[in-house]
């Protein structure tokens, strides 16, 4: 027996109960509690730090660690470059950059790689000069490309261990409750950021909009946040989101969208309470317009729409045609507004969205998904990351997650882009394996994966222009001639990780 800090006698051992430790004082083991209880002279309890430099130093960021960023600010992101600049000035090196996705504004990363600040990149996609540079051998260690669901899996399982997450948020209070639908840099859903906030060792929030406490409703919880920095501008509002996503007017894209919509309607998957996900632009988005007409005609409502959310989806929801909206990324102001206003427009995080190894992601419950493709081959494998010249200029995203989770995956693309056929003998890079791809819809007709004979039968019965994929390829090559193969070097510059963590394909150096 011994006396504890409250003057009580506590046994040092109790049979059946492990780890007995005596009380040592109310403040002894809870460091976040203030010792000056109820002080009127100190500022309110907060996690604010004056500058990004301060924040970085407090996180204890060291050489060789992994840092992460989200891509909800899209081309309006300024934070990644800002933080990397500071990290570089602090002399920190050999970091792994784990951005959920990288865009054309992240060109400065090239210099950081060359100077040794960044040693590895783990991301869903690369574009612009950075994509080009990586394709030409910028990195010693190949970039690891993952899907959205795959990243969530990797982060939650610990395979991708994030030391410090730098999360730009449109609104936060001084203790770390943050959301994405308020403020001048509003971006809507913080789906990708949430997973990082829950799993990173240290979380730094950066905001340009400090709200009152508590900032409810919140997406990122205060109990995951270490430090908060307030800056003038967390992103470029014009590039974060447009007012409303404009539907394409291109007659070819509309033609493809119409055929895709006819395909869905005849597929057997178009019934009351079905669910769907569409792309965020081009023909993949325009499908919404034609699907809506059919939904009205046949009095069919959707139980939910998933994914990247645009004004078109919000309109369907507000019209009563879509019962629930599950939002992992909000693409425009309408979606952002709706996510803040509409009770049944719900933000979801990347794991909920597509992690294949949690207790069940939404992608598993999806009926129909409409996706795009850069290339597709005779086995229906799809490439959305490397262009016709072999250079990385796209992202894996939710493509492979939703393709396999859905009951019917519809890939839309023009048969020929410029002079390059979309159908190739063998795709340059497999992002989505053919086993998960059901229908390919083009401006010259459609093809059904032989794995889905019942779908093909229905589409033929509906008199849709059904061809074999070989026939479509032939049509394309008759127009364009057969393309010469791309010349690749031997060196591997990228590994494509499938959503389950296994390696699906490699990306080789472009010469």
């Amino acid at each position: 027996m011994a006396t504890n800090g409250a003057g009580r006698e506590i046994p040092s051992r109790v049979p059946g109960i492990d780890g007995i430790r005596p009380y040592e004082g109310a403040y002894a083991h809870t460091p976040l509690i203030r010792r000056e209880k109820g002080s009127r002279t100190l500022p309110r309890l907060n996690k604010l730090v004056d500058t990004l430099e301060d924040a970085i130093e407090r996180t204890g960021l060291k050489d060789g660690m992994t840092i992460s960023f989200h891509h909800h600010f899209r081309e309006g992101d300024v934070l990644t470059n800002q933080v990397l600049e500071i990290v570089a000035n602090l002399g920190i090196k050999n970091l792994t950059l784990a951005s959920s996705s990288l865009t054309s504004v992240h060109t400065p990363v090239i210099e950081h790689v060359r100077s040794g600040v960044i040693r590895r990149i783990v991301t869903s996609g690369l574009r612009g000069d950075l994509g080009d540079a990586v394709s030409r051998g910028l990195l010693e260690i190949p970039v690891l490309i993952h899907s959205h669901g795959g990243r969530a899996r990797a982060v939650e399982s610990g395979q991708l261990h994030i030391d410090v997450a730098f999360l730009g948020v449109p609104a936060s209070d001084l203790y770390g409750n943050a959301n994405g639908f308020a403020g001048k840099s509003a971006c809507g859903s913080l789906g990708y950021a949430i997973v990082d906030s829950q799993n990173a060792d240290k979380v730094v929030l950066i905001t340009d909009n400090l709200t009152d406490y508590p900032n409810t409703p919140f997406s990122i919880d205060q109990d995951h946040v270490d430090h908060i920095v307030v800056v003038d501008s967390v992103g470029n509002p014009q590039k974060i989101s447009t007012g409303a996503t404009r539907m394409t007017q291109d007659p070819r894209e509309l033609l493809i969208a119409r055929l895709a919509s006819d395909t869905i309607a005849a597929s057997g998957y178009f019934e009351d309470n079905f669910s769907f996900q569409t792309g965020s632009g081009g023909a993949a988005l325009a499908v919404t317009k034609f699907l809506r007409e059919k939904m009205l005609e046949r009095e069919i409502k959707a139980s939910f729409v998933l994914g990247g959310i645009t004004s078109q989806i919000v309109k369907l929801h507000e019209e009563g045609l879509v019962k629930r909206v599950l939002d992992v990324q909000s693409f425009d102001m309408d979606a952002i507004r709706s996510s803040g206003e509409n009770r049944y427009h719900t933000e979801i995080d990347a794991s909920f969205y597509a992690n294949p190894l949690n207790k069940g992601c939404v992608a598993n419950k999806l009926n129909v998904v409409v996706l795009s493709a850069m290339e597709i081959d005779s086995a229906f494998n799809v490439n959305v990351i490397t262009g016709s010249d072999g250079v990385i200029r796209g992202a894996s995203g939710g493509h492979s997650d939703t393709a396999i989770g859905s009951g019917l995956s519809v890939i839309v693309a023009p048969l020929v882009r410029g002079r390059t056929p979309t159908i190739v003998d063998s795709v340059t890079t497999i992002i989505t394996p053919g086993e998960s791809v059901d229908v390919f819809v083009t401006d010259h007709g459609l093809a059904v994966n032989p794995r889905r004979p019942e779908v093909e039968e229905r589409l033929r019965a509906a008199r849709l222009p059904v061809y074999t994929i070989a026939q479509l390829q032939e049509k394309a090559e008759r127009m364009t001639g057969k393309p010469e193969p791309i010349k690749f070097g031997k060196r591997i510059v990228g590994l494509v990780e499938y959503r389950d963590g296994t390696i699906l394909d490699v990306i080789r150096e472009v010469v």
């Binding site: 016709s388 410029g418 002079r419 390059t420 364009t480 001639g481 393309p483 010469e484 010349k487």
Partner: protein
Amino acid sequence: MKIERTGVAGSLESSDTLVTVDPHRGGVEIVLRSIAEARFGVQIRALIETTLRELAVGEARVQVEDRSALDCTIKARLVTAIHRAAKAEHPVWELLK
């Protein structure tokens, strides 16, 4: 056909080709710049050479600025540029396939 002056045809619109044919001494010089170079460069060059042979053009400087045009477009623009450069009033149908 004899190239007597500069002949230009086509445009830089997507799916089109801008062809410039200039007089030249000493054979044929081809300068090709194409968006589709990586996959179709060889084919396009072959098409240009064949067309020049068909029209019996022995001396010319041919500049092709291609925006992913199909073969039939490239050929059409090249043939037009050659005719303009050769001051041909009417197409020479005997030579065209």
